[in-house]
């Protein structure tokens, strides 16, 4: 069981290691060469990984996301777009993590333009990733791509707003809610950061890299609410 679990967690790595094992048996010389070829990239990665990790953490700690999001309804025009750009660039996580946050902002009155800006910047121009890109492809490559992408994002955002009217976006909650009082975790959005399990270890646990709600006789509702609020992708709802 343990082996299968480990395999499911690290499919790619396990397969690659198996290939290496077979290679070492058949042609040790080629296998050695492959290891040598990898080492250069592993060393480079180890040099940049701590930077990306720490930058992600520092941004997460200090960017006042709530402040940015709370004022969204009132901000229109260029200022709103600039805020969207900043929010997207400084957040952590894959693009689907931006879906629930963007949806929430739409309900608060954000425009289609700004939602496209958030989703696209969230996907492509993340600050810690820029460091990684510059490391492997050179600062010039990173810089030029960043400028071109930024321009493209703004053009796309305004074009999309012309094509897609806000009325065509479903506003009603499609996720079926459970009966009152129950906590619902949207697993498709959970990115396994584990914040909820740290805020309220009594009520949340991690299983297969996803947060799960633990039914308890005594629910620590104060901390559960805090966890709902702190979830970086708004995946928990009650």
């Amino acid at each position: 069981m343990k082996v299968i679990q480990y395999f499911n967690k690290n499919k790619l790595l396990t397969i690659v290691l198996l290939i290496y094992a077979v290679l070492f048996l058949i042609t040790p010389a080629k296998a050695g060469l492959a290891v040598k070829n990898s080492i250069y990239y592993i060393v480079e990665m180890l040099q940049i990984m701590p930077v990306v990790f720490l930058l992600t953490a520092i941004l997460e700690a200090w960017v006042p996301k709530e402040v940015i999001m709370n004022g969204f309804g009132e901000r229109a025009g260029l200022k709103g777009s600039a805020f969207s750009f900043i929010l997207g660039s400084l957040s952590a996580g894959p693009i689907y993590a931006a879906f629930p946050i963007s949806k929430m902002l739409l309900k608060k009155g954000a425009s289609v333009t700004n939602i496209v800006i958030i989703l696209s910047t969230w996907a492509v121009v993340k600050v810690p990733m820029l460091a990684n890109e510059a490391k492997f492809l050179g600062p010039k490559f990173m810089g030029v791509r960043w400028i071109l992408t930024t321009i493209a994002i703004f053009i796309m955002a305004y074009l999309t707003a012309m094509i897609v009217k806000i009325e065509s976006i479903p506003m009603t909650e499609l996720t079926h809610k459970k009966k009152g009082g129950e906590i619902n975790i949207n697993e498709q959005y959970c990115m396994g950061c584990g914040i909820c399990t740290r805020i309220s270890p009594k009520n949340f646990k991690m299983k297969n890299k996803k947060a799960k709600f633990k039914e308890n006789d005594v629910n620590d509702s104060e901390n559960v609410n805090k966890a709902i609020e702190k979830c970086p992708v708004n995946a928990i709802s009650n």
Binding site: Y41, L54, K135
Partner: protein
């Protein structure tokens, strides 16, 4: 380490120091969050890095140059953009992979197309996007991102 990496380290550790001084608890809890997020990627990261070694050993650089090189870059750019759209690997591991291809002679045009669609176009996440924002939005955003990825790639080819 090159000067670029060294300056990043200096910058990052200065920021970390300031962050710790200002609010230790907040900083540590964010680091824990970042750790769990990165932790789930670490297997994939090393998997890809070891895969690069295999690819570089068994695919002769001439082949990479022929397929992804300057000669037929329009076709290879479109194919790269499609591959980028359907794969869902973290951008984090895509950079060394693409970097290794560029190092042995792949043209940057298909490389940029791949990197841009990889993150901006999501065929796998399309159903999710459609559910939250409607078909029209998801279709418009994804197809426009695909087109712009190719435009960005071609411009990069001219500029660099």
């Amino acid at each position: 380490m090159d000067i670029f990496t060294v300056s990043l380290w200096v910058l990052t550790f200065t920021a970390l120091f300031l962050s710790l001084v200002k609010n230790k608890e907040k900083t540590v809890s964010s680091m824990k969050m970042a750790r769990s997020m990165m932790g789930s990627m670490i297997g994939d990261i090393f998997g890809i890095l070891l895969l690069i070694g295999l690819l570089l050993t068994f695919i002769p650089p001439e082949n990479i140059k022929n397929i992804l090189g300057q000669s037929n870059y329009i076709a290879s750019t479109i194919v790269s953009a499609i591959v980028g759209s359907i794969t869902l690997i973290p951008a984090f591991v895509a950079f060394p992979l693409v970097g290794s291809f560029v190092d042995v002679g792949a043209s940057i045009v298909p490389s940029v197309a791949f990197l841009t669609t990889l993150t901006m176009v999501g065929v796998v996440t399309f159903p999710l996007e459609k559910r939250e924002f409607g078909l029209k939005f998801a279709l418009t955003r994804n197809s426009m991102s695909f087109a712009f990825a190719i435009i960005i790639a071609l411009l990069m080819g001219v500029l660099i």
